[in-house]
């Protein structure tokens, strides 16, 4: 019983990682449970969790996209070809 109880208590750095995982919906059930228990008694992590969730919201709102690697390859080739003719 004592051992089990201890397993559910995590430190702030582990709580931080659990919180990050939760931002990506990658946290397991037990990670979420551990995080929630930690948040009950840790004010600093409550603040950090709020901030981290706000960051997730901002990233979502920004609608950032990355261009596909194939397209980057095309550009690189175009630049290389053109650069050797323009600026030898």
């Amino acid at each position: 019983m004592g051992v089990k109880k201890k397993n559910f208590l995590i430190d702030c750095s582990e709580a931080g990682i659990c919180c990050d995982k939760a931002q990506y919906k990658d946290a397991s059930f037990s990670e979420k449970a551990k995080l929630l228990i930690h948040l009950i008694y840790c004010k600093i992590c409550r603040k950090r969790t709020f901030r981290n969730s706000k960051l997730t919201k901002l990233i979502k709102e920004s609608k950032l996209q990355s261009c596909p690697e194939d397209q980057k390859k095309v550009w690189k080739e175009q630049i290389q070809t053109k650069n050797t003719t323009e600026n030898p």
Binding site: S62, L64, C67, K72, K82, N87
Partner: protein, 183 residues
């Protein structure tokens, strides 16, 4: 020696995400955005001799990109007059002096919302520029591309716990960087 110099071989790795996100909200079409960015790179190489090194490489590329976007709208306006576009352009000005309004047809967001979100996106990319390059790449894969942890671990040859430590550092740095203007 000039303060800033050009290094075309790094342009794609360093600036393509920035240029792409700048362009995509303004033209609303990936293919067209890709073409405009191609033209931008080629035009930049052509006028590389004229680069004085006063602006940063990226600012200079963006100024060329803006002209290419305007050219694109001139072309479609003279052809169809489909989108109502107003453009104000000042040749010797900064990025902020440029205004373009486009009639949004499908979304309920106003053009202003779209531009504000875009500005936020560009600010995020700016912040990511200031962290470790590999960490930024891993963060983008996970956060922007939405890839699985396993896939990213294979690509970068790291363990899941490495990945989460990197993500944690990147998110902490990003939040601190965005704090002043966006939180």
């Amino acid at each position: 020696m000039a303060a800033n110099s050009l290094n075309p071989n790094n342009w794609v790795d360093k600036y393509s995400d920035y240029l792409f996100n700048y362009t995509i909200v303004r033209v609303n079409d990936r293919e067209i955005a890709n073409d405009i960015i191609s033209e931008t790179f080629l035009a930049a190489l052509k006028s590389a001799k004229n680069f004085k090194g006063e602006a940063s490489e990226r600012t200079w590329l963006i100024s060329i990109l803006k002209r290419k976007i305007i050219d694109y709208y001139r072309k479609i306006n003279s052809r169809k007059g489909k989108a109502e576009v107003r453009i104000n352009y000042n040749t010797d000005s900064n990025e902020g002096d440029w205004l373009e309004e486009q009639v949004a047809d499908s979304s309920d967001m106003t053009a202003e919302d779209v531009m504000e979100n875009n500005e936020l996106g560009l600010a995020i990319l700016d912040c990511l520029d200031s962290i470790n390059e590999k960490h930024a790449a891993i963060f983008k894969r996970k956060t922007i591309d939405g890839l699985d942890t396993e896939e990213i671990c294979n690509e970068f040859d790291i363990t899941p716990s490495n990945l989460w430590v990197i993500i944690h550092r990147a998110r902490t740095a990003l939040a601190a960087c965005l704090e002043k203007n966006w939180f």
